[in-house]
């Protein structure tokens, strides 16, 4: 299959285009997602190519967007809806949590909701509190939802394709800080483009990256870093900065979680640092930490450490103090290497 150099936006767009070409039941809509192609351009050209009925603008009503998608999915379509920023997903929370997530279960399998809720998420773009949040743990807690967060163009396309084909509702968060390049958290340094990266060589046709499988981004023997989304690149930079031989695991899917890869890695390295952008308390890191403790306790040589956003609302002026950067990752790595903080 031929490949092309793509950034994450192009890769996601390609996934939608390929699936919409192949499967007439796939439809895509959201605020500004039709004619204009989305404020981040992820749905660009889809309306022109696939028609108004399959790619269209929606009213500014997140609950309406997700609620109608549930009805469409129950009918037999595979809707892929866009919530313009993850911070705006809360009005749709009831529809996602009480309805989409529970439909198969509560109907005894009679009704299912194969649908994808796509949403740009995360910080590092000076978006203030309504354009920067990471609400993934609000969804990982909910029975019946799958939660996927890619960190690079190759995975973005493969995972979105898998999400569209999945028979369960999938929350698909797109780290918008990574749309145009692999941001490593050194905000004062220039951002490198995707095309320099191997993971930006994306097949133009259809392929699938399975949901529920982590990617080992870098093998190492000293410590395991668990990360996803933008933080994968921050973790790599942090490990380099600390001069530690870290094994960096990109979880890619939070639910279902690739526990085997995590367990094998932590048992090998004996140490674990978890990195995410979301606030610390009840963040997904708490779940990861508990799992590592439950499964790897006798292999651990230091307490599990978490590097996360703070338990404050997302601040506009203090973005770089809030955003977990390579320095904080390096500090945590050094601490666990010396037996704990």
């Amino acid at each position: 299959m031929s490949t092309a150099s793509m950034n994450m936006i192009q890769a996601l767009n390609s996934a939608l285009d390929v699936k919409m070409s192949e499967d007439p039941t796939v439809v895509s809509y959201g605020e500004d997602a039709g004619y204009f192609g989305g404020v981040f351009r992820v749905t660009d050209h889809l309306q022109k190519k696939h028609g108004l009925n399959r790619s269209f603008d929606a009213p500014i009503s997140e609950s309406g967007i997700v609620g109608t998608a549930i009805g469409m999915a129950a009918y037999g379509l595979r809707p892929v809806v866009e919530i313009q920023f993850a911070d705006y997903i809360y009005p749709a929370y009831d529809q996602i949590v009480s309805e989409a997530a529970k439909m198969r279960y509560r109907s005894g399998g009679q009704f299912t909701t194969p649908m994808v809720v796509r949403s740009p998420y995360g910080g590092g773009i000076f978006g203030g509190q309504t354009h920067s949040q990471s609400p993934e743990s609000l969804f990982t807690h909910i029975a019946g939802l799958k939660v996927v967060i890619p960190s690079n163009p190759y995975d973005a396309k493969g995972l979105l394709t898998a999400a569209i084909e999945d028979d369960d509702p999938v929350i698909f968060f797109e780290p918008k800080r990574l749309y145009n390049g692999p941001f490593d958290g050194w905000h004062e340094k220039p951002v490198s483009p995707w095309k320099a990266q191997e993971l930006a060589q994306v097949p133009t046709g259809k392929y699938i990256e399975p949901i529920g499988k982590a990617r080992v981004m870098k093998e190492g023997s000293d410590v395991t870093i668990l990360a996803y989304g933008t933080m994968v690149w921050v973790a790599l930079a942090g490990a380099e900065h600390a001069g530690v031989d870290a094994e960096v695991i990109d979880l890619r899917t939070l639910v279902p979680l690739d526990i085997e890869t995590i367990e094998a890695s932590v048992k090998k390295t004996g140490r674990c640092v978890i990195v995410h952008e979301a606030p610390k308390t009840s963040g997904f890191g708490a779940e990861l930490s508990a799992l590592v403790q439950e499964r790897c306790f006798y292999h651990l040589e230091a307490p599990v450490a978490r590097v996360t956003g703070w338990d404050t609302p997302y601040p506009h002026a203090f973005e770089w103090e809030y955003f977990p950067g390579p320095q904080r990752v390096a500090d945590a790595l050094k601490a666990v290497m010396s037996g704990g903080r």
Partner: protein, 409 residues
């Protein structure tokens, strides 16, 4: 010192509370036959009045009058009457079953039987209904097995939805009955989405949704109307105004400010306000909306004006918040009695036949109860615990496998 008056809050109150004499003098009820029947292609703006008037067909003598008379043949009328009688018999039996400790919960639709039965008979089983918990008549009018409904209510081993939902939250895809949600209003917008999907695929199926007067205050109601209007979705959006949202009278949801049907006006949707206790009026209005949806002209709002005769649920005691005999004084009467009167008036029914039909319904319910209770009532019988872990996802993930093993199944 300021000269402006002190502000105060108005909290609406119903016309009667416990101990008061029921008072319905504030209701403006159009006479049967008084409201005109516009063509289904009429622009919503030209039929604004229909959102404020009340479509009625049956008069006090049981005659069908006016332009909305659907001119149903006697067989259809008898089928409707029997389904309503059966619905009431089912309700009575299951209410009693709750009192006998056979289940944890039940909700009757007493006084509202005409709505679900008439609408269930008009819509096809390939269409999809998104009901609330008071549309059991949809299933009953379509011949869904009563014993299966009871199995669901008892969460027994044969419960079609495997003991996972509160009693009465049925789910029956083959009967055009969507799985019921306890979160009110959510399904209104889902019905619009289902209808949009049918239009996207160039299909010929339509959707229907029901919501209570109270839940029109939910934001999903307004999202649904926006989407339905914008995309001209083939959907019938019913508002069952049964006057009570548990203990809150319809004025708390905005019913004193305007009619619920009139909410359609602001969205550019056509609205019909209908006597919900008049089987013929419900039939005619639904048929009008169905034709409109089926011919690609979009959605219709129907306010079904009725009265919730029974408590909200078995957990509710209406004597604490409304006059005890208010239901008996409801000026639009009883839907079953009115169809019976009509059929007798046209020489197609008799008191003896009514009595026989009621007896037969009780017997039918009793037979279903025997069948269902032989499988077991709540706590006596249930699906395998293993099923608790199934269908969370299409396939179990490792967490569920581990947790299921922890339970030992």
């Amino acid at each position: 010192m300021k000269n402006t008056p002190t502000l105060s809050l108005r909290v609406p109150e119903p016309s009667g509370r416990p101990g008061d004499t029921p008072d319905f003098s504030h209701l403006k009820l159009d006479a049967p036959g008084a409201v005109d029947r516009p063509d289904v292609a009429t622009a919503p703006a030209e039929m604004r009045d229909h959102a404020f008037r009340l479509i009625r067909v049956l008069d006090d003598e049981g005659r069908a009058v006016g332009p909305w008379d659907p001119k149903l043949d006697p067989d259809t009328l008898r089928r409707g009457l029997k389904a309503m009688i059966l619905t009431r018999a089912f309700d009575d039996r299951m209410h009693r079953a709750h009192r006998q400790g056979k289940t944890s919960f039940y909700m009757k639709c007493t006084g509202e039987e005409a709505i679900a039965v008439a609408q269930g008979m008009i819509l096809s089983r390939e269409d999809m209904g998104f009901p609330t918990y008071r549309q059991q008549g949809l299933l009953i009018s379509r011949g869904y097995p009563l014993a299966s409904m009871m199995n669901q209510i008892y969460s027994n081993a044969e419960d079609p939805i495997k003991g996972r939902q509160l009693p009465i939250m049925y789910s029956a895809k083959d009967y055009g009955f969507f799985t019921i949600s306890g979160n009110l209003g959510t399904q209104y917008v889902q019905a619009v989405g289902w209808a949009m999907a049918s239009a996207i695929r160039g299909d010929d199926k339509i959707a229907a949704a029901w919501i209570g007067d109270g839940s029109t205050a939910e934001s999903d109601f307004h999202s649904a109307l926006t989407f339905a209007a914008v995309y001209r979705a083939p959907v019938i959006l019913n508002i069952v105004n049964n006057q009570w949202a548990i203990s809150s009278f319809q004025g708390i949801a905005g019913g004193l400010e305007t009619t619920f049907a009139s909410k359609a006006v602001g969205y550019g949707l056509p609205a019909l306000r209908v006597d919900g206790n008049d089987f013929l009026a419900v039939w005619a209005a639904t048929q009008w909306a169905e034709e409109r949806a089926r011919t690609n002209q979009g959605a219709t709002i129907i306010e079904l004006f009725t009265y919730r005769g029974a408590p909200h649920s078995t957990s509710d005691d209406p004597s604490r918040y409304r006059p005890g005999d208010e239901h008996e004084k409801w000026p639009l009467g009883d839907p079953i009695a009115r169809v019976k009167q009509h059929l007798i008036a046209i020489g197609e029914w008799s008191d003896d036949q009514q009595e026989a039909a009621e007896k037969e319904a009780v017997e039918q319910v009793r037979a279903a109860a025997r069948e269902s209770e032989a499988i077991g009532t709540l706590g006596q019988s249930r699906p395998s615990v293993k099923t608790m872990f199934e269908e969370v996802f299409a396939t179990e993930d490792w967490r569920l496998v581990e947790q299921r093993r922890e339970v030992g199944v």
